[in-house]
């Protein structure tokens, strides 16, 4: 059902897209619907090269989620939000939430899933509720300093690997987690890191955040 909904959304969005790109967007949607996510990813990437604009990035990101490439998906979602914010919808937010979840950005996922609510149909809503319950279970107690350290470490690794968007996602998660502790463990450091990324790497903070 969620695959069908993705295709329907795609059909609506392709109205203003170059014809060649539209062909590939629709072909990608067909692959996606039939579970051939690698083929779908290729078609969406071709569509983007042919001028589909940012909307293809949403579907590239969704395909990457299905291919278990969560971190790349998060980067693709950031591009999509920046390039074609109007093309997003509740279903795509759900896929982004999955990407966050897979990348252990649980509070990122929770925020997106909350926004998904009932807007994406009963089945997705049920799955979103289930995921939120899982996240909630993870945070019955405040996060440990060690877990926050892990996010800082991932942010540093991502940044040194030239992936500032991903670094920002991990630091944003670190901010959220610190906010759940009375001592606000490394909160200032995380915020400073985000400011630094904004200043040095361009508009990476917030652009991909839910």
């Amino acid at each position: 059902m969620k695959r069908f909904a993705l295709c329907l959304a795609l059909l609506v969005l392709t109205a203003a897209t170059p014809r060649e790109a539209t062909v590939h967007l629709l072909q990608g949607a067909r692959h996606f619907r039939e579970g051939r996510f690698a083929n779908a990813l290729v078609e969406f990437k071709v569509a983007r090269r042919l001028g589909s604009g940012g909307e293809a990035d949403w579907y590239i990101a969704a395909s990457l989620v299905k291919l278990d490439r969560a971190e790349e998906a998060l980067e693709a979602f950031a591009v999509a939000r920046r390039e074609a914010p109007e093309a997003g919808d509740a279903l795509l937010d759900y896929y982004q939430a999955l990407a966050c979840y897979e990348a252990r950005l649980y509070l990122c996922a929770d925020g997106l899933l909350e926004a998904v609510g009932e807007a994406s149909g009963p089945r997705i809503s049920a799955q979103a509720r289930k995921l939120r319950e899982d996240v909630s279970a993870l945070f019955r107690t405040p996060p440990s300093p060690a877990s926050i350290d892990w996010y800082h470490a991932r942010a540093a690794q991502s940044r040194s690997a030239g992936r500032p968007v991903l670094a920002a996602r991990y630091l944003e998660e670190a901010v959220r987690l610190a906010g759940r502790r009375e001592d606000a463990y490394r909160l200032a450091e995380a915020r400073a890191g985000l400011v630094s990324l904004s200043e040095r790497e361009g508009p990476v903070v917030g652009g991909g955040a839910p």
Binding site: A38, L41, V42, K45, V46, L67
Partner: protein, 455 residues
């Protein structure tokens, strides 16, 4: 899921390493963005996505050599890493050997389309892929697809078979210079010890040495590859440092047809040349030429005949106008792979307006071509021409009889994919029964050449 496991899962999908069913109407423009995606994904290490994209390239452009090589490599990587590739989908060794043999047989018969299909099938067997790539390169070259031929030869050049790899590398360097539309630009300078000669090479004045700069451009059109009709257009300018009166400029063109088979080739063309000397009209020439070659065992026999109507447009040279027949016979043999020797005979007859200038000439020729390494060649040629003038020359008081000993050597070096460097030196020793007409001429120079297929 780990990346390796993901690759394995994707490659296990039905048909991912198996044959690609091509579209009924191939379209390279559709294939192009898939190739871009494939390149990017492969560069990022996303092998499974790259493989999917490369297969789409092949679906729309079945002859894309880069895509074939990439699919083969990705499937081979998966196989060697122990991934559960669908072995049954890849032709077995026996089938691949049969495909290669069929391809060779078809290739020998000149059935290129069928041969290419068989070679493509043989590509799936890693141990035969280099040989299949080599012959696919030859077919692409024959059909004028220079860039694609280059990609096939590049794949074959990685062969563990050293002889095959050397030959493939040699052809790869040649392929980048060819195409259905190909351009060659030649820029060089030389020293010429004697520029003041008559149209038939007779000495006019001693001590006319000069430095010469030459630029030449030639556009070749072969819409159907090496077979079928072709056209050639060229222009050149040869300027002297001091003796501007001998500056030579010319334009020319040719229309022809060629058949190139495995063991035989035949071509016929009409050509036209227009030259100016010292800025004044000098020569207008029409030419008909027929050439043929046949392989007899290890020897290649070649013959050509040319009939040229020459009209000299300057009064002082008008006596040389007339009909010139030229016949060339040659046999070529390679005793070892890197060396080719040739021997032949050249004959000519000029029926000139001024009967005293008409002559018959003939003599032996010998040549040597050594490939020092792929892209570096040494060439040598020597010949002797005996010329008998037909009529008694009243001013000279004798019936002239000349002899010409010519020797030349050249070094050709491919310094970059489309660039080559040439160094040449040549000597002519002219003797005559009129002692005043004997002379020696030394010429040598350097040149830079760009040659490339535009389409």
């Amino acid at each position: 899921m780990s990346a390796g496991l993901l690759v394995a899962v994707v490659l296990a999908q039905p048909g991912l390493c198996g044959p690609v069913k091509p579209e009924s109407t191939p379209d390279a423009s559709v294939a192009a963005p898939y190739a871009e995606v494939a390149e990017a994904e492969q560069a990022a290490g996303n092998r499974e996505i790259a493989l999917v994209a490369w297969r789409e390239v092949l679906r729309w452009e079945p002859d894309n050599a880069r895509a074939r090589a990439a699919v083969k490599a990705l499937c081979r990587e998966s196989s060697s890493s122990g991934g559960p590739r669908g072995e049954a989908e890849v032709p077995g060794e026996e089938e691949a050997v049969e495909a290669l043999q069929e391809g060779l047989a078809r290739f020998e018969r000149g059935e290129d389309v069928e041969a290419a299909a068989a070679f493509h099938e043989a590509l799936a067997a890693p141990e035969l892929a280099d040989t299949a790539s080599f012959f696919l390169g030859l077919i692409a070259l024959r059909e004028g697809r220079g860039r694609e031929a280059g990609a096939f030869f590049e794949a074959a050049a990685a062969s563990e078979d050293e002889a095959l790899a050397r030959r493939a590398e040699e052809l790869r360097l040649r392929a980048v210079k060819q195409g259905r539309v190909a351009l060659q630009v030649w820029v060089g300078g030389e020293y010429d010890s004697n520029v003041d000669l008559t149209p038939d090479g007779t000495l006019r004045r001693e001590g006319s040495a000069d430095a010469v700069g030459t630029v030449l451009a030639e556009l070749r059109l072969r819409p159907w590859g090496q077979r079928g009709g072709y056209a050639r257009f060229s222009g050149h300018y040869r300027g002297h440092q001091q003796r501007w009166a001998f500056d030579l400029a010319g334009v020319g063109g040719a229309l022809g047809w060629a058949h190139v088979g495995t063991a035989r080739r035949l071509s016929a063309e009409y050509g036209f040349d227009l030259l100016s000397l010292g800025g004044l009209p000098y020569l207008r020439a029409h030419r008909l030429q027929v050439e043929g070659g046949v392989s007899v065992g290890p020897v290649v026999l070649e013959a050509s005949w040319a009939l040229r109507r020459e009209d000299f447009l300057r009064v002082d040279f008008s006596g040389y106008s007339g009909w010139r027949n030229t016949v060339r016979l040659e046999a070529e043999w390679s005793p070892v792979e890197a060396v080719t020797v040739s021997a032949g005979w050249l004959g000519g007859y000029l029926r000139a307006n001024d009967v005293a200038l008409g002559h018959v000439e003939h003599g032996p020729r010998a040549g040597l071509r050594v490939r020092l390494r792929p892209g570096l060649h040494l060439l040598g040629e020597a010949g002797y021409t005996l010329r008998d003038y037909e009529a008694f020359d009243e001013p000279l008081g004798t019936k002239r009889k000349d002899g010409y000993l010519d020797a030349s050597a050249a070094l050709e070096w491919d310094v970059a994919p489309n660039w080559s460097f040439q160094a040449t030196v040549g000597w002519r020793g002219a003797s005559s029964n009129v002692p005043e007409l004997s002379y020696g001429r030394l010429a040598g120079g350097l040149a830079l050449v760009w040659a490339g297929g535009l389409l």
